[in-house]
Amino acid sequence: MKEGLRQSMALLHTWTGLLLGWLLFAMFATGTSAYFQDEITRWMQPEITGSADPVASAEGAVRFLQRTAPDAVSWYISPPNSRSATTQVYWQPGDGKKPARRGETSAVLDQSGKEVSTRETRGGFFLYRFHFDLHYMPVIWARYLVGVAAMFMLVAILSGIITHKKIFTDFFMLRFGKGQRSWLDAHNVTAVIALPFHLMITFTGLVTLAVLYMPWGIAANYAQTSTYQEAVFGKTEEVARSGQPAPLAALGPVMQSASAHWGGKRVGYLRVTNPGDTTAMISVTRAPEGAIGSRGEEVTFNGVTGKPVGQSMAKGAALATESVMIGLHAGRFAEYGLRWLYFLSGLGGTIMVGSGLVLWTVKRRTKLPDPSRPHFGFRLVEKLNIATIAGFPAGIAAYFLANRLLPLDLAERADHEINSLFLTWLAVFVWALVRPSARAWPEMLGLVAVLFAAVPLVNAFTTARGLPASLLAGDWLFVSFDLVMLALAAGFAKGAHKATRKRVEAPRTTRRKPQEAMTA
């Protein structure tokens, strides 16, 4: 009976892992990069240097908004935090018209409130959004697809734990050069060593969109979603303008007062409603780095006197639990040390998914009736593996390269950067289709290594912030980014080398066709 359970779990593990494994690989890779989305954005906007003071920046933003949108319904101001140097503002126009483009009601400002001139890019934010919204498809479909994939992942992890016979005895086991056994080792070790992370990240990932996947709880208890929102988060009343102008309270004291209310925690963003009117209100929301669970902790001030008038309602147990889970997933609370640990754990998860995908083919190759002519399903998996495990990282490298190489005044530049990611991915897929798999593997892994290695080089030639310069200037963000690119290049180069050597060693495996061994 026990063997029966283990076998059925192995079957479940194999197929839940495989079916959406390619999507999971891309989700893991982009999710991992999203821990450094602000830093990636800063790397992709090399024109912006230094740091900025949050209070001075917020006041600069007010001057900009008073010029640009004095009659707006509301302004949103995100002053720079510990990881950024610019202020993001957007506003809801007063005439009630929806803007044709996002760019018409938003701006990126420097500390003095001037619009910064930087290359058009979506930066790390795109990778973050791809993690759950994908691209070139309606967001809602993407989120359902991502949810199914995450559910499969959870099932694969749990069934994998049951399948894995010797979690503790094999804890440190990683033997290279032993074919299938090595792949199994790699898959087990990456899975087991970061198991708390994998379980946490998969489960909390599902929680982030749980209301979308399971709307019935709310539907059964509230007539409208808005009623639920009010019951849980409190009501935000819209007050009409009185029409009597009044100057806006200075934001500096308001921000200090809010920060003191949170025991010195930083301000995340400010919302000003009816600016320039006697009915003006300022809502200040705490930065998510303030605590693990963060969900709109807010203090409201009178917009003319600057006196506090209220704060967001206390969270119930369910909401507090949810916000801690989401906080754990996104890691916004983590300072740099913990952020690196998150990043490395995510990298391990990406390797786990990748090695699992490869293991599927490695296990079956020796059992094929004729290994030189595998059946369609086997070939499909093998090609998709190459296309994803080499292709997607190649796409990410291309995204960074495009950021440096596309002409600065190109129309729709940000979209072209994104397109270059997917075009590169597609190109690798096509290459995998037309080449024999045994050759496509080292070729494409080698290509990824070259692309990642090219990123710091191209950066050095196209900006004044190359690795030697940033080392001298102590610009650790740029130094780290370039070093991570080089480390990734080294990792993929090692992979390409191994994939080449495997073919050299091929004659030793008896079941291989001589013809395949000859290609070595």
């Binding site: 005895t169 804890f171 440190f172 990683l174 033997r175 290279f176 050069g177 070790v189 060593i193 970061a194 708390p196 992370f197 946490m200 693990i292 801690v324 754990l328 609370f333 983590a334 040390g337 913990l338 690196w340 640990l341 998150y342 490395l344 754990s345 391990g348």
Partner: protein, 95 residues
């Protein structure tokens, strides 16, 4: 800095735990350990893991400490896997 310190402790902790396992003793220590040494290594490893948690809680507070602890232990275990992998590599044995 705490992360670095705790990760170093985690490396030591998992090295001790690996030493307490028969299959890794020859690779790590060059010989098989006595029963006493083995249980000492096991107890030492687990105690270190507890010490790391205590340090994290003292520095970061409970919630943050649990997350940091999981991350540091993961890195500590990884380091030992890599080290064992390098020590037992066929290229180092054969040639």
């Amino acid at each position: 800095m705490t992360h670095l310190f705790c990760t170093l402790l985690a490396i030591a902790a998992f090295a001790a735990l690996a030493l307490s396992m028969k299959r890794h003793q020859r690779d790590l220590a060059g010989r098989t350990l006595t029963a006493r040494e083995t249980s000492l290594a096991r107890a030492g490893g687990w105690s270190l893991i507890a010490v790391i948690l205590a340090v994290d809680v003292a520095v970061f507070g409970f919630g943050y400490a649990l997350v940091a602890w999981a991350g540091q232990l993961t890195m500590g275990a990884w380091f030992n896997v890599a080290w064992l992998c390098w020590k037992t590599a066929p290229s180092r044995k054969g040639r």
